[in-house]
């Protein structure tokens, strides 16, 4: 299975995402932001970082990158797409996911490992988990405070689209939302970094479950 990782000029978790993709036995493919070509990948990850310095608003400038045109087509066509941290911010700016990520309530950057509950395993990015399973995943962001209009939040809850929920909310997000999916359930955005929890030497590899899900989803052989 080929998994593409989009590289924006200010991405800084791209190497980690590529590394994690390798760890699950998939083939990592670098997708340069300036090339409108997904190179035939089966799934796409928008990694964390500060795509354009996060100037103006995180993800605001990145969403207009050349790579985003084919990516939007891919996502709207049902292609498994995961946005992590800045990638989540880009997906909301691109309207592939509803809502927005505001500055943390503390007004501070926060880097911390927090318990996160998997609410719904019926997406390409959570299928390897059992409902209610608790993963310990790090967050590292300044704007992770998920916000959407009341109706939107209600709709997300009703339709089971809150995929990951904080047990200890690090940023003030509505309903402790850590990650959501689109109506078609193929596009997932999450603030915690599963790719960072990908090696027992660094403490745990719980995060790989999130990424392995896409292998199961694709029916590929799981390593």
């Amino acid at each position: 299975m080929k998994i593409g990782v989009v590289i924006f000029p200010g991405a800084n978790c791209d190497a980690d995402a590529l590394y994690a993709v390798e760890r699950i036995g998939a083939e990592p493919v670098e997708l340069w932001h300036a090339e409108p070509d997904l190179k035939g990948v089966d799934a796409v990850i928008l990694p964390g970082g500060f795509s354009y310095g996060d100037y103006l608003r995180p993800g605001a400038i990145a969403r207009f990158s050349k790579v985003m045109r084919p990516l939007e087509e891919f996502a709207r066509g049902g292609g498994p797409t995961l946005g992590v941290c800045n990638g989540f911010q880009v997906l909301t700016e691109a309207r592939l996911l509803p809502g927005a990520l505001l500055q943390n309530m503390s007004l501070r950057f926060v880097c911390r490992t927090v318990p996160v509950r998997v609410e719904h395993p019926d997406t390409p990015w959570s299928g390897a988990c059992v409902p209610g399973e608790i993963l310990h995943l790090p967050v590292a962001h300044n704007e992770g405070n998920y916000f959407a209009a009341e109706e939107t939040i209600a709709q997300l809850e009703d339709e089971g689209r809150v995929i990951f929920r904080y047990l200890e909310n690090p940023n003030g997000s509505r309903n402790d939302i850590a990650g959501i999916c689109n109506a078609e359930r193929n596009v997932v955005g999450m603030m915690p970094h599963p790719e960072r929890v990908s090696d027992p030497l660094l403490g745990s590899e719980e995060g790989l479950k999130v990424l392995r899900s896409v292998l199961e989803f694709a029916g590929a052989k799981v390593h």
Partner: protein, 79 residues
């Protein structure tokens, strides 16, 4: 070319009812500095730019400078 440039000022602010942690922080900090009698405080963005064609500004605001989910904007030509 520069003769034809117009200066435009764009004000972007959190939409009504949207959480504004920065504004809230400023509001809370003021009394400690001895400033009493302050009501609401909102913090937004100021963008000043020079453009050749001011008919593009509306579009710039909608597509890039503001995020309509959380922000509202206004703009004017200032020079």
């Amino acid at each position: 070319m520069s003769e034809t440039l117009r200066r435009v000022r764009v004000l972007v602010r959190p939409k009504e009812g949207i959480l504004d942690p920065q504004g809230e922080a400023v509001r809370r900090a003021l009394p400690a500095l001895g400033f009493g009698g302050v009501g609401s405080v909102h913090v937004g963005r100021l963008i000043e730019l020079e453009v050749e064609d001011e008919s593009q500004v509306e579009d710039m605001c909608r597509r890039l400078l503001a995020n309509p989910t959380i922000e509202e904007y206004e703009w004017e030509v200032i020079g």
